[in-house]
Symmetry: C2
């Protein structure tokens, strides 16, 4: 850090430099896997990363305007001994190149970090659950990155203790997931790429009941007795949960639909279940 508190401006001046290209490549899943790193964009997500997972931060870039608008980012970085580098907004935009334009990417708003993907094991996370009441969210083949990010954010807000994802779910470290989760990805333990077959028995071994939702379930969510340690399993946007998952769940409940809607968006369904769990505590 310079003595003025402004970021180090050790210059990255070309949007075609190797460093910029390497960071832009993290838009893709294969590059994220190869390097074990991902990109975090925007002041809210980066602030949360610095507060909760500072040890994972490898690189931090800010524009002059970004540093001005979010001075706490530089303070947090300094506290953790992380050097922020000042770059132009052109460079910062080039670092997010390669994203699917359908992502509707906004600008990184002057702040961008590269961090290690900290993959914890399922056993480790289940062992670390609180010994009393516990709530877990399981995503099974949820494919829209915006939905996945919103689901992580809703799980965090409702006080869930972990978010787990089976192999067919959108990558939690994809840029759009990270953005939609607005920091919540760093607030609670996550495990991704879990083989669905073994998951339910591991949950039960940890004393956690498996709960599913279905429009055809007999129990109404608001009338059902919910186990104090439970995992809500949410399925694919179009197909919902497969019959095999529904049959294997300890309890399936129906979210009452009062209007003419045929179904609920997966993030809305999860929110109703997670906040009903929170309300009962």
């Amino acid at each position: 850090m310079s003595t003025t508190g402004r970021p180090d401006s050790w210059a990255i001046t070309s949007p075609r430099s190797d460093r910029v290209k390497r960071i832009a490549a993290l838009s893709g899943r294969s590059a994220r896997r190869r390097h074990g790193r991902f990109r975090v964009e925007g002041p809210q997500a980066v602030r949360s990363l610095l507060q909760h997972r500072a040890q994972a931060v490898r690189e931090l870039y800010v524009t002059f305007d970004g540093a001005d608008a979010a001075p706490e980012i530089l303070d947090l970085a300094e506290t953790s001994g992380i050097t922020a580098r000042e770059v132009s907004s052109e460079i910062l935009r080039a670092m997010t190149r390669g994203e699917d334009p359908a992502d509707g990417m906004a600008s990184p708003q002057g702040v961008l970090a590269v961090a290690d993907i900290a993959q914890r094991s399922l056993t480790d996370v289940l062992t670390g659950l609180p010994s009393g009441p516990a709530t877990v969210l399981v995503l099974h083949e949820v494919q829209d990155p915006g939905n996945v990010g919103t689901l992580i954010r809703a799980a965090d807000a409702s006080g869930a203790d972990a978010v787990l994802a089976t192999t067919g779910t959108a990558d939690f470290h994809a840029p759009k997931v990270v953005r939609s989760a607005t920091g919540s990805l760093f607030h609670l333990p996550v495990v991704t790429g879990i083989a669905p077959e073994a998951l339910f028995s591991e949950l039960r071994d940890a004393g956690v009941s498996v709960l599913a939702t279905s429009g055809y379930a007999e129990s109404d969510l608001y009338a059902a007795k919910l186990p104090s340690r439970s995992a809500w399993v949410m399925g694919n946007e179009a197909r919902g949960l497969p019959e095999s998952v529904l049959a294997d769940a300890d309890l399936a409940v129906r979210i009452p639909l009062a209007g003419d809607a045929e179904s609920l968006n997966v993030a809305i369904a999860a929110t109703v279940c997670l906040f009903e769990t929170l309300r009962r505590r």
Copy 2:
């Protein structure tokens, strides 16, 4: 309709025809206003349109595969005396041209309709509310079309009686809103473009209390007494509700946040409030 039940194939063969261009232009708000029409895409939304607002349908297009995959669309159209026209998938895609690519447009999945925008007056919709308990959702400057569609869908599912929007809110008839709402736009009355100043007094005149959410409110949602006739007001994604709206509301409640999340996505916040209202009924 042909006697075989297959759609009329009165040919539209050029993606550059005036008809295709006119339908593609409905991606833009100004063309929608000028023509008083909008586009509905995909089997779920078109089915719901035909079931609930058939009289508004002006044109209906299906591909061969679309007709095969959703035969009920042709039956519904026939029942209402609407002629479906068969077009190629190239033509159907051309009809959705002009959309912002950031919309993440999927294909219209073989089915597309053009319908009249049926704008009802606020007074008309408020007069038509049930005389007993009633729930209204008000969107104030909610700007993301995907959020607006999800909000309309959540309102429908929770049994809300109307959705209202102030002038600064994303157009309910924009293609991405219509898609995200997956038919719910046709299930309940909507009024858009309302001047915010007069709205609250009109609601109160109809015996509907104005409820707002705020992270700083004293009342907890789950502990608060909620009026039986109420309008939940939800604000802009980044700025939330302005102070003036909070001050003018009859009741402001705090949604309890149990984790480290700083805030809730607007669709998540609305879902928690609307389903808590439903649960209490």
